[in-house]
Amino acid sequence: MSEVVLMWAAVTLYTLGTILVVFGAVFKADRLLSAALWVSLAGLVPHGVAIGLRWVAVHHGPYLGFYEVVSSYAFASVVAFGILAWIRPQLRLLGVVIMPVAVLMLGGAMLTPKAPLGITPKLASYWLTIHVTFAKLSYSSFIAAFALALVFLVRERRAAAGIPSEGMLSRLPDQSVLDDLTYRFVAVGFVFLSVMIVAGAIWANEAWGRYWNWDPIETWSLISWVVYAGYLHTRLTLGWRGRRAARYAVLALPIMLFTLIGVPLAYHSIHGAYLTGVN
């Protein structure tokens, strides 16, 4: 019961954070943006405690079932917001992109069944922790890149339309800085994604004797990896910068999200049990 109360407290704080950041952006109020950041980060406290309470109760981390998995991705989203704001305070504005995603994720998770799924013998391995941790880290990096790229494109579009950059948008770092930060977050996320895939392959071999079986989740992980490898390739070897690179980073995130959350729902897969509980 207390876990549910804490989760709803987190939803409330994230929602308040979202409202504050939107108002802060629209009314160009720095104080509201600061408040949005602190309220959102404050939401991490009840959220983290709730995850911890459940961890103790079910004897495993937030790995199993739609509720746990999506809740942890919402947590990762808010952490990404915090990191962006820590790197450059002007990036608090990116909460306009990230916080609604976090609210929708956690709110959606709260409406799904919360019955815990037990760790089965097939999942009882330290590789599960490694694999899932890097999945969350990669997602966190990619959503930060997504937010940076989206804001880049909004500013670019306004500039192309002859609308002078003013207010909150003008306080963001230069386009070149946004572009560089987007690349850096994609690079970090790509490393984390690579570790996730390698850990998954090693674990699959330990568990099933096959490190790769073209299972839908495995295939979509590879697709995500290839998509982000393509971003890095086009940037580092073809010199893609600016608008093209930003569009790529924006379009890549939905593919990653589908891999992490959508594939188990859309396909019948041996992996799907971690989300749906059905093998």
Binding site: V191, I202, A207, W208, W214, T219, L222, T237, Y267
Partner: protein
């Protein structure tokens, strides 16, 4: 027109080709997920084919149920492999040059080949030392800490990071070699091993087997035994389920490796890895001649079956006559109780085996229910005695010697990509040379990868700093 090696290499190492092939890989992989993968007998494939008859004509014509093993996939991937080799080769030469330059500068040596300066700044009125002091101050304002020795001021990334990208690409090449070799040389099969019996690790022992053409079966063959079976095994606070204790033995019976086998705890010996797959029951029989002497033994593996009245599907045995020709077929079921309409998947305390004996033409010879030590008698005086009923473990046995190589390639690739993306590759070198009217500062700035500031920002900051100094000097 002759195709030169250089033009082939240039085409293969083209970034556009690589990006195009990656795009193809992504789209093709996605398409493959839309259609069930497997052979015609795979249940999901058969179901899909039955419900998508029109599409199935096209899908089966292009072999798309085995999408990742067909030419439409393998040929472009072979081209991607060739492109990766060409890229890796090209990057290695460049990386080695950079490594040499960075190492030389850090060691205070001149690089083996001269580096063209990025800019030159005149510093009239300043000595070499004063010029470098000023430069150090301006760079410090940009957040760049530099090192200084003599008439040089420098900052470089770790030289080893220059080799990270080639390491990553060569690791990918290694993976692309190891994977097909592994596929061609591995064996992967399911074998049923009754408790207390030995089964040879040989093709004839496997019910389901995939073995690559390059796989070499060990001679003399290893044998696999199940020495014990626990219907439930609790370890680490978790019930690991039905758990056999499996041993791998040499031809002379010596135990080479033995342990309980349960999910995430396979048995390993050399390149062989044994996982649990399932379990069932096994009925062991002895065929006796009219004098009661044992002629042969056979074991029938009996699987649980919720839809069968007895709770087990019939295990089939074929008995041969004295000339070795199949003479009779024996279907064996082991009746099991149900609890809450579910078959109780445990060995009964007093197991019985129900036999249905038919001739090779299908005509019924007889049926009987036997307890251990009871026998079914044939008309010719031979008898089939039930020796006992026990568990059997269905094991997944994989023999793949390339797995350690694969792991090594993956770890190297991870290390390479991490260092390549997260480590920088940059060089900043300022040398001050005394001239008749002051000092000339030559700057080499290479921001190959990473670096918080661009080469242009650094040059602009230095020029601004020296410009301010010149103005101060002229005012004075």
């Amino acid at each position: 027109m002759a195709i030169s090696r250089r033009s082939v290499s240039a085409s293969l190492s083209s970034p556009r080709l690589a990006v195009g092939l990656m795009l193809y890989l992504g789209l093709y992989a996605f398409a493959g997920t839309l259609v069930p993968q497997g052979g015609p007998s795979t249940p999901s494939v058969a179901t899909w084919a039955a419900s998508h008859r029109a599409l199935e004509v096209v899908v089966s014509a292009i072999g798309f149920h085995q999408a990742y093993y067909g030419a439409l996939f393998l040929l472009p991937m072979a081209l991607l492999a060739a492109s990766t080799v060409a890229c890796a080769w090209k990057r290695t030469r460049l990386a080695w040059t950079r490594f040499g330059v960075l190492s030389a500068i850090r060691a205070g040596r001149p690089p083996s080949s001269p580096i063209r300066p990025s800019f030159e700044i005149d510093a009239p009125g300043l000595s070499a030392a004063e010029s470098l002091d000023l430069a150090e101050h301006e760079l410090g304002a940009l957040g760049l800490r530099v090192r200084r020795s003599g008439d040089r001021l420098w900052r470089t990334s770790q030289p080893a990071f220059a080799l990270a990208s080639p390491l990553f690409h060569w690791s990918l090449v290694a993976l692309m070699l190891v994977l097909p070799v592994g596929l061609l040389s591995r064996s992967d099969g399911l074998v049923g091993v009754p408790v207390g019996e030995a089964v040879q690790d040989a093709p004839a022992s496997y019910g389901v087997l995939t073995a690559g053409p390059l796989h070499r079966w060990q001679q003399p063959p290893l044998s696999i035994t199940v020495d014990r079976f626990e219907p439930s095994f609790v370890f680490g606070g978790l019930d690991r389920g039905p758990t056999p204790t499996v041993a791998i033995r040499s031809a002379d019976g010596k135990v080479l490796a033995s342990q309980r086998v349960y999910p995430n705890s396979p048995l390993r010996y050399g390149s062989v890895i044994v996982h649990p797959n399932d379990h069932g029951l096994a009925a062991t029989f002895a065929l006796l001649n009219p004098d009661g002497a044992e002629l042969t033994r056979s074991t029938s593996l009996v699987d649980f079956d919720e839809s069968a009245a007895a709770g087990t599907a019939p295990g089939e045995m074929t008995l041969s006559d004295s000339s070795g020709q199949p003479a009779v077929r024996v279907a064996v079921t082991i009746p099991l109780p149900r609890k809450d309409a579910q078959v109780v998947r445990l060995l009964p305390r007093s197991p019985v085996a129900r036999l249905r004996v038919t001739a090779t033409d299908g005509s019924l010879i007889g049926s009987e229910t036997l307890r251990p030590d009871e026998a079914f008698r044939f008309a010719d005086g031979t008898s089939l005695r039930l020796l006992g009923v026990n568990y059997y473990a269905r094991l997944n046995v994989v023999d793949d010697w390339t797995v350690p190589l694969l792991y090594a390639a993956l770890l190297l690739a991870l290390g390479g990509v991490s260092a390549a993306l997260l480590g920088g590759q940059h060089l900043l070198l300022l040398t001050a040379t005394d001239c008749a009217d002051g000092t000339k500062v030559a700057g080499v700035v290479r921001m190959w990868r990473g670096g918080a500031q661009s080469a242009e920002q650094i040059e602009a900051a230095l020029r601004a700093g020296f410009g301010r100094e010149r103005e101060k000097g002229s005012e004075a």
